[in-house]
Amino acid sequence: MAQVRIQHEDFNLSDELAHLRANDLRVGAVCSFVGTVRDTRAITGASGDEIRTMELEHYPGMTEKAIEAMIEEAHRRFDFYEALVIHRIGVLRPADQIVLVAVTSAHRGQSFQACEFLMDYLKTQAPFWKKEETPQGAQWVDARVSDDAALARWGIQASNA
């Protein structure tokens, strides 16, 4: 059964993974991905690259449906038991957690693949938008062509960016 949560609050990775596989003795593998807010200044060293905050907007109603549909698609492709997607919205700061995708399966291969597929799908098909507050002011983040390419690996044509 798919679990999708869009929330302002932070999440606790250990608690979420424990809950996801609780009482399911079929599970032999749990794979998870956590996306976090990075401060580009910490990478480039340029003060102008500072990310002070990141604000996430979404399309209530559509977001949940789009993610549920992508989990159904993942079930058609991979042999896994449970999938959990948590995506935060609102104002976040560098180092904050943004997104969690977690998958359980009997063996590691299927949950690794399903987890990566779900993230690639989410990046180009789920209606979220990021706005960064920088020393130059606020600016909307541009979509990346590399994210379309990532989804194309799974045989799905994305034309988001």
Binding site: Y59, M62, A66, V99, M119, K123, A126, P127
Partner: protein, 83 residues
């Protein structure tokens, strides 16, 4: 017919509007886009041809040729950047 049109992110900001009821004669998304552009001003600018505008009809990703029917919810937004 009436359509519930919703705007998100940079498009919402540029129009200063998150949703509106639109009286439309459009058969598809492309037709609705043309009607909105014809209003001029910010609409003509942010929805201009060649701009990266994405669309959903009844909360499912759509294309310019997707039909629109009375009562449909049509969302316009820039390329998505979540994750």
């Amino acid at each position: 017919m009436n359509l519930q049109v919703r705007y998100f992110a940079s498009i919402r900001e540029a129009l200063g509007l998150s949703s509106e009821m639109v009286e439309s004669h459009a058969r598809d998304v492309a037709g609705l886009l043309n009607e909105l552009r014809a209003r001029g001003g910010a609409y003509a600018e942010v929805l201009a041809e060649g701009r990266p505008v994405r669309v959903a009809v009844n909360q499912v990703m759509a294309t310019p040729s997707t039909p629109v029917a009375a009562g449909a919810e049509v969302g316009f937004f820039p390329p998505v950047t979540g994750g």
